[in-house]
Amino acid sequence: MRPELERLRLIEQQLLNSSTALPAEDWQLRLLLDGELAADTAAQQQLYQGLRLAGRRQLRRELADIHARLYELPASPWARLWQRMKPW
């Protein structure tokens, strides 16, 4: 992967506490040596929080579709025809 993508992966491993995350002391050392790492990590954390909100919104849409499928009667052919004629 490109170095930019590797950096995203490195930060992700720390933020999501993956099994490949660096030990805490190594991460602290990286933060000291890399002046932009703390800001990039905070920004990436915000992305994950935003994705969580977007995921919830998507899940609610899916639930609304399920509700409509289970509980809302499909429109009768006459109702559908009426909808098409309605503009005049």
């Binding site: 935003g50 998507q58 899940l59 639930l63 499928r69």
Partner: protein
């Protein structure tokens, strides 16, 4: 009519949600929504209130189940009814305090209004996710929210390997980050 069996363990429920979300959620909906609707409508709410409460309860259940934080000591329907009861009680108290306020159609609008300034980026991300192409949006949400394994994401999106799907996921994340960065940089210049 044959009724589908209940989800009795958190592990079974998690596996079902990850394997086929739509089917598992539809089963939960059929089993539990009538119970929640009866409770809400029997305690001063409307059918629309019941739907809102039930969707909130399912979101909570989904996140706990796929996050591995769910312990079921009864069926998933009973658990959903319990969450629904609590949410409806909470909502009734809120309405008693603020009788003029109606809930917005999109609950995230309410969250955005109440959000302190530090949360601005989070809500901006929400808009930029919507602007990503469908493929990137689906991959990011599948991995980071719906917690689907990369093997499944690779198969669903026709990638030849998990590695290709992983690279694509990071490319999409980079696109999202760059959009948010650009927007915030131009805002800083504008004001």
């Amino acid at each position: 009519m044959v009724t589908s069996p209940e989800f009795l363990s958190a592990a079974t429920l998690r596996a079902a949600l990850l394997a086929d979300r739509e089917q598992a959620l539809t089963r939960l909906y059929r089993q539990a929504f009538p119970l929640v609707r009866r409770h809400v409508c029997g305690h001063g709410g409307t059918a629309e209130d019941a739907q809102d409460v039930f969707h909130d309860a399912l979101v909570i259940l989904y996140e706990q189940a796929v996050g591995g934080q769910l312990t079921l000591i009864a069926s998933a329907s009973t658990y959903l009814l319990g969450i629904g009861r609590n949410l409806w009680r909470h909502e009734q108290r809120r309405r008693a305090r603020l009788p003029q306020d109606a809930l917005p159609d999109d609950p995230s609008a309410l969250e955005a209004e109440a959000a302190p300034e530090t949360d601005e980026t989070r809500f901006a991300v929400l808009d930029y996710v919507e602007q990503l192409g469908a493929r990137c949006k689906n991959i990011l949400l599948a991995f980071y929210y719906f917690q689907q394994p990369l093997t499944q994401i690779a198969a669903d999106h026709d990638y030849r390997s998990v590695r290709s799907a992983t690279v694509q996921k990071f490319k999409c994340l980079e696109r999202l980050r760059n959009s948010v960065r650009r927007a915030f940089r131009s805002e800083t210049i504008d004001y």
